[in-house]
């Protein structure tokens, strides 16, 4: 599943957790066993331990396992401490209000795009409904602009991991096409999604770069071909650039209090 699996027992158990998550639906023990390298009792004990620990949830009626609620709790802490989202939040709010279209905030995670925040024009803040979702890097606006500004070695490493599955007639179908696109993006400083992932869905995307030029994440404004076109989206370039700059600046100055914030504050 793309992970190292090393790290002794811990790594093995977490591989099982990934395996369950990858199913995308509650899964039976036998299904896990069928595609597992572990012998039956070994897998059984991992699943038991993870369930005890509430990393998996067991449904006794259906006899199925699914990722457990403890993950939701832990993820909240991760989201607040290890992603750009808390720093970016006010800026993403302001951007969302200004453009009135769907806004995404993303980071790169294991050669994939990880969406860490989203604003719906109509319906603000639906956290994990989209945040936490992963998507392909080679055919999304945010993915491509992040790839474009990695150092070359890293870019190649990530390109090598892309699947180049063809979603639409506009999907970039191979590494060569993607490299040409990345050159364009580097020249312009930003990029588009030209219905490459979903028909009718287009976006303009802007990298969030640290002062040193390191890729921190990316922002995008998404719309549909019914409502506008690429030229129309281009109008958002300057506000996207400003927003990205502000987020990068704040990320630089971001520091956590070294006293123990006693979390007596509300929900």
């Amino acid at each position: 599943m793309g992970h190292v699996t090393g790290d002794g027992t811990v790594g093995k158990a977490l591989a099982v957790l990934d395996q369950v998550a990858a199913f995308g639906r509650p899964v039976r023990f036998s299904e896990l066993l069928a595609q597992s390298d572990f012998p039956k009792p070994t897998l059984y004990r991992f699943v038991q331990a993870l369930t005890n620990q509430q990393m998996l949830a067991y449904d006794p009626d259906r006899q199925t396992y699914a990722p457990g609620v403890r993950l939701v709790r832990l993820a909240h802490a991760a989201w607040e401490q290890s992603t750009l989202a808390p720093v970016a939040r006010p800026h993403v709010d302001a951007l969302s209000k200004a453009v009135g279209e769907t806004v995404h905030l993303a980071q790169l995670d294991n050669a994939q795009v990880l969406y860490i925040d989203k604003r719906n024009a109509a319906n603000p803040v639906q956290m994990y409904s989209q945040a936490g979702k992963v998507g392909p890097a080679y055919c999304t606006g945010v993915g491509k602009v992040m790839l474009a500004f990695l150092d070359l070695e890293m870019t190649e490493k990530v390109i090598a991991q892309q699947s180049f599955h063809v979603f639409t007639e506009y999907t970039l179908a191979d590494a060569a096409a993607l490299r040409r696109e990345l050159d364009d993006i580097r020249a312009n400083g930003y990029g588009f999604d030209r219905e490459e992932h979903e028909p009718g869905i287009i976006c303009i995307a802007m990298p969030i770069l640290s002062e040193g030029g390191r890729v921190l994440g990316a922002l995008s404004v998404t719309s549909t071909t019914n409502r506008t076109n690429l030229a129309g989206l281009e109008a958002y370039e300057s506000i996207l650039r400003e927003t990205a700059t502000k987020i990068a600046r704040d990320a630089q100055n971001w520091s956590f209090p070294d006293y123990n914030t006693n979390e007596a504050t509300g929900i």
Copy 2:
């Protein structure tokens, strides 16, 4: 930290993960060690393994650990498969649109309230809550209504785990006061938060009960004493009850496709 810690190496490692998350901020190895029962090398290896596995993120500049992004990915799967949120979503959307105030969807998790979804009011109150966040059960609207409809044995078990920290002058200060309140809630079928957790913040809360009467979760509509009062919130009782009933009904019929949903869809 409330966990069993058993389950061999896996349980121990996850206890470390919880420990890091509990800090609520990036934490140094020595800080973990100071409050840990594990000897230095043992703790060290757990932290290493978790970091390799991206369950923790290491910041080399500050030499600190924080919960890692892999959790965000996994939590998305957990949220979609092991919580009420996906079933409730359309109903919560409709409720939110109808009432124009902040709406919360919560479940009970280890004697705490776990918020699993949220819709902001049209003009949002400055209040900090998100999916994944946990809160106290004894002094929130959703917490109390869930407690009220557990079976008595379970109710007592959960009451025994409450801290009864006094947040405001209205906070229920002990188990006896909470039990009286739960009796009231059982009689009415729903409950309020009377500024018990945060000054100026009030809410009306409704349990989500299965046909068999099992507690599935709770819904609340939150506002401020500036904008309304308890009598004003009471106007939402019927729509809350209807929404809760619909969610319970859908949760009953909820079934996962047994074919492999191939997830080619975009964000």
